[in-house]
């Protein structure tokens, strides 16, 4: 579904290389978690996967097409849903408007009833759904950001620390939703996290350090170094 082929990346105007020759594959129906220290490049990887940024080397292939060569607006709007670390909700709009707008942009049509239902499954009451984002708590905002990412039913969901602001009970509910989306609805879910609990729902766990991805095969104490392809 989504594959990174010899991906390299360095920030514009610097010589610091974040990744070099990274090869990863993501399939539908699975939950992937990416763990690693702050500054290791996890969020950069998500920016590349979401088409917000372009790799300086290699290619990201989505359903057989090079992401750098397709309409990335269309890709972001319809093919994927993203939960940003800083949430990036529209602060002056209501929770409901945020969801409906996302549905409209993706082309599925802004259905308020469906948006309210979705928010309800995230524990946001209809009354709170009509409040402006700034008048909701951090945890509520995080759940709205997750609802926005899945509202248009995209085949790929990319989430950056989606449970960072949630209490344990809500975190459990949200993880159940992600698990359900992947395992029952057959979608691909990629989560960047520091939370060990989040990794419990993962089918594959990847650890990134100094631009090198290592896969954990169910045992976090036994990292397996990713094979690098040589050109």
């Amino acid at each position: 579904m989504l594959a990174l082929k010899n991906i390299s990346y360095k920030y514009e105007g610097t010589t610091r290389t974040i990744f070099k020759d990274v090869n990863l594959e993501f399939s539908p129906g699975k939950v992937y978690t990416i763990v690693g220290k702050s500054g290791a490049g996890k969020s950069t990887l998500l920016a590349l996967l979401s088409g917000l940024d372009v790799a300086t080397g290699g290619e990201i292939v989505y359903n057989g097409e090079n992401l750098a060569k397709i309409n990335r607006n269309h890709y972001r709007a319809r093919q994927m849903g993203m939960v940003f670390q800083s949430l990036n909700l529209i602060p002056t709009a209501t929770a409901l408007d945020n969801i409906v707008l996302s549905m409209n942009i993706s082309g599925v049509g802004g259905n308020k009833t469906r948006a309210l239902e979705l928010l309800k499954t995230m524990g946001i009451s209809p009354e709170k759904s009509r409040r402006k984002i700034l008048k909701l708590s951090g945890g509520e905002q995080q759940r709205i950001a997750i609802a926005r990412a899945i509202a248009h039913n995209p085949p790929l969901i990319v989430a950056d620390e989606p449970t960072g602001n949630l209490d344990k009970e809500t975190e459990g509910k949200v993880l159940k939703i992600f698990e359900n989306i992947a395992h029952e609805q057959g979608k691909c879910v990629i989560i960047v996290t520091h939370s060990r609990r989040v990794t419990t729902i993962a089918d594959e766990i990847w650890h990134v350090e100094k631009g090198i991805f290592r896969r954990f095969d169910g045992n976090v104490n036994a990292p397996q170094t990713q094979k690098r392809r040589r050109k």
């Binding site: 607006n73 709007a77 990036n88 002056t92 409906v100 409209n104 802004g110």
Partner: protein, 328 residues
Amino acid sequence: MYLLEHAMLNLGKNKGRNMLLLGITFAIITAIVVALSIFNATNLVIEETRTSLQSAVRIVPQMQTLGETGGTGGGQMITGQAAQNQATFTAEQFSDFANSDFVLGWDLQDTPRGTDAVFYLVSPLLLSDFEAELREKGLPENYAVRTDEAAFASIVAPVESLQSLAITFLAVVVVLGGVIMALLSVIAIRERKYEIGVLRAMGLKKRKVAFVIWAENVIITGFCFVLGMAAGNFLSQPISDNILAGQILSNADGESTATTLAERLASESADALSTENFSENLQIDILINATTALQILAISLLLASLVGIISVSQITKSEPIKILMERT
């Protein structure tokens, strides 16, 4: 459709910022309404005056010929004595002149120097034919048949002054107003840079973001257009009357100091023939017709669009990832 809904929602969000934009746009559109309606009304007056006065002709002495016959000034100069020495026509002669297929009607008028007449032609194009017919009826060579240039000038001069004031004011308002609107809009859009970054990160295309901003500007402009038309309609008549009165006064002052004796004598007959001083009673009715309203709407929308393009181009240059990273 959802983009328009989003634009409408945005207008309700930041009331302070939008009220400021609304106030400025309203002031600019009102000024445009006043300036353009005065300009169009004066244009109409000038055209109507030209059409009506070109059909009104009179018999006037020819300056050069009279100067030579008077002999005191020589050349093209004419003296009061020379003018006074010229024979005027009798009412019977004027009646004979008016008995023509080219004449619709005529007025006999008393002047300090005797009797004079104004002939109203069927068409201004028949002037030379009418003059030829009068020559056959005995009109001396030192007289010519002319349109009422003096009356035309006396009406048109203050109107033209008003017109040039209106067009200058319009140009200043459009240019300065446009700059102010653009600055305000750029500041307003910069405040919304993050929101635009989020929308773009969600996959909204640049042109759709631009459409939202443009739609917001157009909605504000449309609202201000309605208010501005009402306010401009109310203000333009008194403003026009005031400026026109000033122009008539200043024209009269200018004429009294600048006119030479010869010029005064040359125009004397024309003034005398006029039973009323046109310019003193001049009133311009400012009516905003459909054409003027469309012109105002077009200028307003053009301003709104230009302002929208300038402000949007500032934001859409940046990639959404950069905007979001700046925020983070």
